[in-house]
C-alpha cells in the first residue's frame, strides 16, 4: 500500500455514493493518479473511468472528508487518501 507504482502515480481510494455508486456499480475502488492533480482533471478521469457521465455536471468531490470547493485548484494527494464522489445531497 505504501509504495508508489512505476509511472510515478499513487493509489488513492475512491468512494461512491447514491447515484454515483449505482453508475460505478461499486461503492469503493482503488485508483492510480498523479500526486498533484487539478480537481477538475481528477473529476474528469473519474467520470470516464467509472461511467459517471450521466451526472458529471452535478458531482462534487471531497478529499479526506472535506469538500473541494473549487475544481480549478490543485489537490495534493498521498498514498491511500480518500476521494469521495458526491452527487447532489438530499439529507433531512
Amino acid at each position: 500500500m505504501n509504495e508508489e507504482n512505476k509511472s510515478g502515480t499513487i493509489n488513492i481510494n475512491i468512494l461512491f455514493f447514491a447515484k454515483s455508486r449505482e453508475l460505478a456499480k461499486t461503492s469503493r475502488a482503488v485508483f492510480a493518479v498523479e500526486p498533484v492533480v487539478q480537481a477538475g482533471q481528477l473529476l474528469k478521469q473519474l467520470v470516464d473511468r467509472f461511467d459517471l457521465s450521466a451526472i458529471s455536471n452535478c458531482i462534487i468531490l471531497a478529499h479526506n472528508e472535506n469538500y473541494i470547493e473549487n475544481l480549478d485548484e490543485d489537490i495534493h494527494l498521498q498514498q491511500a487518501d480518500e476521494i469521495a464522489v458526491i452527487p447532489p445531497i438530499s439529507g433531512g
Binding site: 455514493f17 447514491a18 447515484k19 471531497a62 438530499s90 439529507g91 433531512g92
Partner: protein
Amino acid sequence: MDYIKLVSNKIDIQQVHNLIVDDGCGACSMFVGTTRDTFEGKKVISLEYEAYENMALKEMSKICSELRTRWPILKHIAIYHRLGTVPVREESVVIATSSPHRAAALESVSFAIDELKSRVPIWKKEIYEEDPVGEWKENKE
C-alpha cells in the same frame, strides 16, 4: 453538550428532548423531518437513506460549532439522522436545541436544518408504489 448521531432505528422524540432539557434553560426547540406519502402525485412507500458516514458526522459537528458561534447562549444541541429504510410517517432527522431564552432555541433549529440539508453528505432515494427502483432526490431549498 453536542449530541450527534447517525442511527438505523426509529428515533425516540422524548429521548432526544431529555438529552437537551436543562435546569438552566427555559426553552427547547425541535425540528422533526418525516417521510411524506406523496411526491408529484406518486405514492411514496418509504425513503432509503445512505451517508458518507464519517464526513456526515464531521459536517454535523461543524454545524454545532456554527450554531454556538451564532447563538453563544445555547446550552445543548442534538442532531440525529436516521439511515436505511424510513417508512412513511417516521422520522429521518431530529434537531433540537435548548437555551435559557426562546429566540436562540427557535432560530438555531431553523438555521441548523437549512445547513444540514445543504452540506451534510446524506442521500435519500424515494421508493414509489409503481416504481420500486425509486429515484434519488436532490435538496433544492
